[in-house]
Symmetry: C2
Amino acid sequence: MGRPGRKEELLQAAVTLFSQKGYHATTVREIAEACGMQSGSIYAHIASKEDLLFQIVIEVADRFMEQVGPIARGEGRAAVKLGRAMAAHIAVVTDSLETATIFLHEWRALSPDRREAVAARRTAYEELFAAIIREGVASGEFAPSVDERFARLLVLSAANWVYQWYRPQGGLDPTAVAERFAELILGGIERRGGEER
Amino acid sequence: MGRPGRKEELLQAAVTLFSQKGYHATTVREIAEACGMQSGSIYAHIASKEDLLFQIVIEVADRFMEQVGPIARGEGRAAVKLGRAMAAHIAVVTDSLETATIFLHEWRALSPDRREAVAARRTAYEELFAAIIREGVASGEFAPSVDERFARLLVLSAANWVYQWYRPQGGLDPTAVAERFAELILGGIERRGGEER
DNA sequence: CCTACCGATCGGTAGG
DNA sequence: CCTACCGATCGGTAGG
């Protein structure tokens, strides 16, 4: 045992270290030291190093789903929903940059069983975006030529890759990031016949 | 010494292992074993495990530059050049999927000096795409509202993320992948006033 | 949560 | 390129 919240301290230390150096390059000794305890003591709180990774990954996967799910299932024009879904996704990435980095970068380090569990959640999540795109095409908001799979990949590529370049100190508002991407993806970069979009 | 080409064998084994398990999870013993030698013998050919990683990363970085550089510096409409540049980039990713995965995923494992050298090449490379976008905006091909940075990020996010989902067995032609992305990015997904794009 | 320690394994070297 | 081996360090455990 020990004081409560001690496991959260370990998780937080693991988040910082895993996101900075990667899972394999981080040692349990470093995690323990960051919490002021001996390396062996860590196992009074967790079963294994991989458990820490798994908890981190699952938590952020759930967060993506919680934030984007209601938007995708809600009412409204597809273009608006797509913009909101992107904003919600990007907000999760930027607000939890370290955790999101681990989710997107370190899931390979999980054991096969757990990796599969994560992959299943991920597929379900991506389907939220696919559904919005399908709606837009069906309603005529989006061009009939739009390929559901590639449109989804484009949206999620841009939204995921944010973890690679976004730095909070950059002073860039997550909402602004999402808006620019949504504008580009919805309208395209080529000049239109008129000038509006 | 030893028979020539032995270093290339080691590099190839490292490529496979680094791309599958990651740099830190790969041991020099595995690399040596894949080439039928003892772990200590590897150091007759290379100075360190990190040297293998660095060579792999630099080679593919150069390949991106060689393939896309002439397109970016060449003549033609910006929209055409952007499509070609994307196609060239994606072809490098798909043709060298393992190497590209290491380049995009494992460069963090490099020592600070080498990481910086890679970052510098990367910045120069990204500038190729920025230049094409600038051209398109300047010539009026692209909308004046197009943000150079975000357009570049959108293009490179989609083109880079390919390594995360592309599988050669999928039977998907790299050219087709690039064409779909280019079409979506140039034209947008919203239906236009007319029906063409 | 500490002390003490485990078996395994790591990247790399010496000396041929 | 092998044999033999190094010091260090790894994730994790026993027994309080």
